[in-house]
């Protein structure tokens, strides 16, 4: 279980007013480690951010540098129908061991995003594991994806195999590595 990062509270009264200090670590910062995959499937700047919970569950989200999140982009629609026979919406999971889930490889497509400028982007899983759920809220409210990409605008939740829970991050970038990639991308001629 996770701690709130607050020191052990003594028997203080209920009305202690906490001073307005900088916001406490966010929900994501408290519980998750951010991992990144840049230029997914070779497509430039289509960066994904995988939020890995301490219990090994992964939430697939768009990284801030993804084209869909850039200003001026409007999302027309989002679809989970990734092929004629497969819709991520049909994913049904049952029991504690999540039987019946669609199994995903790193390159498995999760959804397609259609933008008003005609561009179409495919979001990939980036981690191996069982698909728990896809975010239906963004189907009805695509702007959510752009407003809160790291929380309410998540794409999907994936549960990696227990044995693979450590190894799945081997192919991914840490926050620092990702930031270096961004710097290099913006200054292609500069040397680090």
């Amino acid at each position: 279980m996770e701690e709130l990062g607050y020191p052990e509270a003594g028997l203080t009264g209920p009305e202690v007013a906490v001073a307005t200090e900088p916001a406490a670590p966010s929900l994501v910062d408290r519980y998750f480690t951010r991992w990144y995959k840049a230029d997914v499937k070779g497509k430039p700047s289509e960066d994904h951010c995988i939020l890995q919970h301490s219990n090994r569950i992964c939430v697939i989200t768009l990284a801030g540098s993804h084209p869909v999140l850039q200003s001026g982009k409007t999302i027309k629609s989002i679809s989970y129908q990734i092929s004629t026979n497969c819709s991520r919406l049909q994913n049904k999971v049952s029991g504690k061991f999540k039987r019946g889930a669609q199994f995903l490889t790193e390159l498995a497509p999760l959804c397609k995003i259609h933008c008003s400028d005609g561009e179409e982007y495919t979001i990939s899983s980036c981690v191996r594991g069982r698909l728990m759920e896809v975010n239906e809220n963004i189907l009805h409210q695509p702007s959510l994806l752009q407003e809160k990409p790291s929380t309410e605008g998540y794409i999907a939740v994936v549960l990696p195999k227990f044995e693979e829970s450590k190894s799945i991050t081997e192919g991914l970038l840490t926050q620092q590595q990702y930031e270096e990639v961004i710097v290099k991308r913006n200054n292609p001629t500069a040397t680090s």
Partner: protein
């Protein structure tokens, strides 16, 4: 008074000459008075001999026909049934010689159980062990386990007797037979009672278990495995496939003729008596209940150990139960509570009901003063938790507590942070929301070990206390099973509605306290 009558003579003689002990003979003659069994073996043997000898004198006095019939029947009877094995001794003189020695012979039916193993000496040995075990007890229940092959021998003796009864048309049926275990308890219960100074009570939590084995005749049962293979399931844990139940089942199934072919009737006399495999004392679990407060934001409910490494020091469970384990001198415990809270959540107010099951306690008697002192001891030993209303309860009481977990309301206090600056008026509306229905998908933080589902829960009422532009305190009364943290921050929008969505801000929870667990069990004690 000798319990056998004229009617029983043939059966008695039959069994006696085959090497059956007096008490077993009584059983097969349907003697259901306790008295006769309690007399010493030697006395019983002598009386039995005398009883059987009289027949010979009577033979001379009686009319020719009946006695002739009797002798002939007896001889026939013996010949028929001793087809497999030793010769039946049809000569009465041989009988006498044999029977003189049979006082020392191990009974061919009970293998010594109703001979030396039900008498004062053996009971005294067991009592010694019981007293040395260090258990505190005020009554006991005796549980005896006999080797399965006894059932086979019992069956063989019964078939023999049945034939004899049939010939004489005696009004004796299977149900008139006294079971070995019953007779054993008739004799030993008063001896144990006297030896330990306590009553024998079938409902007692203190159990003395005696297990007998007879290695010499272990293979007696094996023929059943071939004749009725479907009665015997493959052995688990390397234990013998020939369990008592399986053997009884097979004996019920097997046809009499088949049984006669495979097993000697009467059974042969063994050379050794039974061995005592084990004498064990156990005490049934006792239950201690109470309510606990948790004042630490760094304490898990149960020990937090991953890959053998302890990740967090101590736990609610250990801080309470370790003291109980020691006081009750128990082997182990099971801790359960009416719900639980996270590591970083305090439990205030009256506290949360809990119950500890203490397994195999050696000490069980505590006055209410002693329990109070135990409570004080726990409370002095840690400032992270405190307990109240500590008391001994029965097993049934656990049910109330678990019911509380699923059905009773809880109240909480949460310290909430908002991304947007807020004013008092922005949170006022929350006070007016009654029985707000929320849908909660299984929170991500527990999704790895719980099924994915949506749970509808009710926030019965809320009360807000404004602190500053980015903070307010929220008191809530909710239905059992509501995830409070997720109700505040929304869990990626998977709990709807949530405080953030209701207020149209990004909200987060900084602190959570349980203010009350609304279960009125265990009964409050005034300290």
């Amino acid at each position: 008074m000798f319990p056998l009558t004229e009617e029983n003579k043939h059966v008695a003689r039959l069994l006696f000459s085959s090497g059956t002990c007096p008490r077993c003979i009584f059983r097969f003659c349907g003697v259901d008075l306790h008295g006769p069994y309690k007399r010493p073996s030697k006395e019983l043997f002598n009386d039995l001999q005398k009883f059987l000898e009289t027949e010979k004198d009577e033979l001379i006095l009686e009319l020719p026909n009946p006695p002739l019939k009797k002798i002939r029947l007896q001889e026939d009877g013996m010949d028929n049934l001793s087809g497999n094995g030793e010769e039946g001794s049809s000569a009465t003189e041989d009988e006498i010689i044999a029977s003189e020695a049979s006082d020392l012979r191990v009974c061919n039916v009970c293998l010594g159980i109703l001979q030396e193993f039900c008498e004062k000496e053996f009971v005294a040995k067991v009592c010694q062990k019981v007293e040395a075990s260090g258990f505190e007890f005020t009554s006991m229940v005796l549980s005896v386990s006999f080797p399965p092959q006894l059932s086979v021998r019992e069956h063989a003796a019964w078939l023999l007797v049945k034939q004899e009864i049939g010939k004489q048309s005696l009004p004796l049926g299977r149900n008139d037979l006294v079971q070995l275990k019953e007779a054993y308890k008739w004799i030993t219960h008063p001896l144990f009672s006297e030896g330990l100074g306590i009553p024998i009570d079938g409902k007692s939590l203190f159990e003395v278990s005696v297990v007998f084995a007879h290695p010499e005749t272990v293979e007696d049962c094996h023929f059943l495995g071939e004749v009725c293979p479907d009665c015997f399931k493959p052995a688990k844990n390397k234990q013998s496939v020939f369990t008592r139940m399986a053997v009884l089942k097979a004996l019920n199934k097997i046809k009499e003729e088949d049984f006669f072919k495979q097993f000697p009737c009467p059974p042969n006399s063994p050379k050794t008596v039974c061995t005592v495999l084990e004498i064990e004392c156990t005490h049934g679990a006792v239950f201690v209940a109470g309510r606990y407060n948790k004042y630490s934001r760094n304490l898990p409910q149960t020990p937090w150990i991953i890959d053998g490494e302890r990740k967090m020091e101590s736990s609610v469970e250990e801080l309470i139960s370790d003291h109980l384990l020691a006081a009750f001198k128990a082997e182990s415990f099971n801790f359960s509570s009416s719900g639980r809270e996270d590591v970083d959540v305090r439990t205030l107010g009256n506290g949360r009901p809990f119950a500890v099951e203490l397994l195999n306690p050696h000490r069980v008697r505590f006055t209410s003063q002693e329990v109070k002192e135990l409570q004080q001891k726990i409370n002095k030993s840690s400032d992270k938790i405190q307990v109240r209303d500590l008391q001994l309860v029965t097993r049934e009481a656990i049910g109330y507590m678990k019911e509380g977990e699923e059905e009773k309301t809880k109240t909480y206090s949460a310290l909430i942070w908002t991304s947007k600056a807020i004013q008092k008026k922005d949170i006022g509306f929350l006070n007016d929301l009654k029985d707000l229905k929320i849908d909660q998908k299984t929170p991500l933080r527990v999704l790895h070990r719980r099924p994915l589902a949506v749970r509808t829960r009710s926030i019965h009422s809320m009360e807000t206390h404004y602190l500053d532009e980015h903070h307010f305190r929220l008191y809530l009364k909710t239905q059992a099973g509501t995830y409070i943290k997720e109700f505040v921050h929304g869990d990626f929008g998977r709990t709807k509605p949530n405080i953030g969505s209701l207020m149209n801000v990004t909200a987060d929870i900084l602190e959570l306290d349980v203010e009350s667990v609304d279960v009125d069990w265990p009964p409050a004690l005034d300290d």
